[in-house]
């Protein structure tokens, strides 16, 4: 910078009579101009880096569209680690026809149609409330560094997209079919490098007739839609960003409380807030005792991700995420309820008596 300033000063103080500049002055002027141009180009490049999706982000976007645009049928091997660290395993069949995706295993069926999800188990069909359309969804590379490398799955040419943490460790590996852009394999990776959960197609058939033959009947239950809300009710808390920086994309009234959905562009986090006192005895077995910000909590390891339940300040939080455990922990840190207006009044009244 010092040389640039000096050069600029010399150019400005050059005689106006038209006398030729010395060679030293010319070199300095050209150097200053070059530095200025590099700075301008660099600034322009940085400014556009955030708005132009990387190759990895583009590939992930194509992958997300492919599942509803491609008819296929396949068998998927699903693995995950239980709370005790034991490796669990299951095999599921997947069929996709005309945008209807069906997953089945041992009589259990999960069916998704136009964003509405139905589940059939031994009790019959039920529907999952459809969350409001996500808004302002960040790009897959908004918070993750994505790198690509070629690979193969079951003799199919594919590309692996590795999403890395800031420290360079892999958080997720996606293997995407080069021909169809279908997701063939996914690994969610802990910070220590172990795979927390994964699935992988062990067979894939792109024949539409075969795919259609595998579809079950239409669900015999009405669909449900969670009611989107703009204003968070008194006593609840809906920060615009989670502790890990994921963006709030959906807010709905649900199950006597509110349901929030966050995403960082790659993973998502669901937060159910319900006012009241957590009935610990009513929680299902199989959980692991843990803490969230010092509060007692219980964690469940599932094939889809982890679920953590805890209570703070009169609100019960039930959070689920498909992210690695360290990312989930960072996301839910700091989640707490705002005291309601009534509680604030009582605190004001009782405060002087020391009962607040």
């Amino acid at each position: 910078m010092r040389g640039t300033t000096e050069a600029a000063t010399r150019v400005a103080s050059a005689p106006m009579s038209g006398a030729p500049m010395s060679s030293t002055t010319r070199r300095l002027a050209v150097g200053a101009l070059a530095i200025w141009m590099l700075a301008v180009v660099g600034t322009w490049s940085n400014a556009n880096a955030g708005s132009t999706p990387s190759a990895g982000a583009r590939l992930i976007s194509q992958m997300r569209a492919a599942a509803s645009q491609t008819d296929f049928s396949g068998v998927v091997d699903v693995t995950w680690r239980s709370s005790s660290g034991k490796r669990e395993h299951a095999t599921v069949e997947v069929h996709s026809v005309d945008g209807v995706l069906e997953v089945s295993s041992n009589g259990r069926i999960v069916l998704d149609e136009d964003g509405q999800t139905f589940v059939k188990d031994e009790l019959g069909w039920s529907s999952t409330p459809e969350v409001p359309d996500p808004k302002h969804r960040p790009a897959p590379d908004a918070q993750w560094h994505l790198t690509l490398r070629p690979t193969t799955v079951e003799d199919r040419a594919a590309t692996m997209v590795v999403a890395s943490r800031a420290d360079g460790t892999a958080a997720q590996r996606l293997v995407i079919d080069d021909a169809t852009h279908l997701l063939l394999e996914r690994q969610v990776v802990a910070r220590d490098g172990t795979v927390e959960r994964a699935f992988r197609f062990v067979s894939l058939d792109l024949d539409p007739a075969i795919a259609a033959a595998g579809l079950a009947t239409t669900p015999s239950t009405p669909s449900r839609t969670a009611k989107a809300i703009n204003d968070v009710p008194d006593g609840y808390h809906a920060p615009e960003r989670s502790g890990a920086g994921a963006v709030l994309v959906s807010t709905a009234a649900h199950d006597g409380g509110i349901q929030l959905v966050y995403t960082d562009g790659l993973f998502s986090l669901s937060v159910l807030e319900q006012r009241g006192e957590l009935d610990w005895d009513a929680l299902p077995a199989g959980g692991t005792d843990t803490t969230v910000d010092g509060a007692r909590a219980r964690s469940y390891t599932q094939p889809m991700g982890n679920v953590v339940v805890w209570e703070r300040d009169g609100v019960v939080f039930t959070c689920a995420s498909d992210a690695p455990d360290d990312v989930l922990r960072a996301s839910i840190a700091g989640l707490r309820a705002e005291p309601s207006t009534a509680e604030q009044v009582v605190d004001f009244v009782l405060g002087p008596f020391g009962f607040d």
Binding site: A67, S68, V76, V78, W80, E88, A90, V92, V94, L101, V103, S105, V110, D112, T117, D121, T128, E130, V131, P134, L183, R186, R197, F199, D255, V261, T263, F267, S268, S270, L272, Q274, R275, G276, E277, L278, D279, A282, L283, P284, G286, Q302, P303, M304, G305, V307, V309, G314, V316, T318, A320, S321, D322, A342, E343, V345, V346, V349, F353, F355
Partner: protein, 183 residues
Amino acid sequence: MTDGPDVIGTPPPTGPAGSDDDLTLVSGYLDNELSDDERAFVEARLADSQEWRDELDAVRVARDAVRALGTREAPAGFWTGVTTAVEAQPAIAVPEPEQTVEAEPNVVPISAATGNRGRRRAVAWIAGAAAVAASLVAMFMIPGRSQVRPNVAAVATSHGATSAKVGDPISGLVPLGPDREPR
């Protein structure tokens, strides 16, 4: 009217009630805690002054209202919170008395200071009423805390469906296939 017993023999002109000492006497009168002289003094005032009678009625109504409130169960977890808060307070060291002060002839025992006793009683009534009012606010304004039994399996399934919508369908739905959800 500040030194009641000293003026018993010669009742002063009827004056308005309302000073701290008047309230103390009225309160003590209702609680039957006055000496014979004090009682006679108060009754003389009540006989002569409408304001004193009004004051007596007002104190009686307030006292009866407080006593009629009865008791109510504290909300679940309240006492746990109180004891936790108390236990969290640093212990207060109580110094041992180094010496005993011998009573002197001119020192009046505190128990004999009836004027202060009455003032403390009035303050106690006011503080008690304020505490009751605060408790009423707490009981009626804080919504009752209901027991929450979150459906962990439903939240897990719902999240898979949400992931399918926010992210990609295969990642969100395939892991929902295995029937391994908590019940």
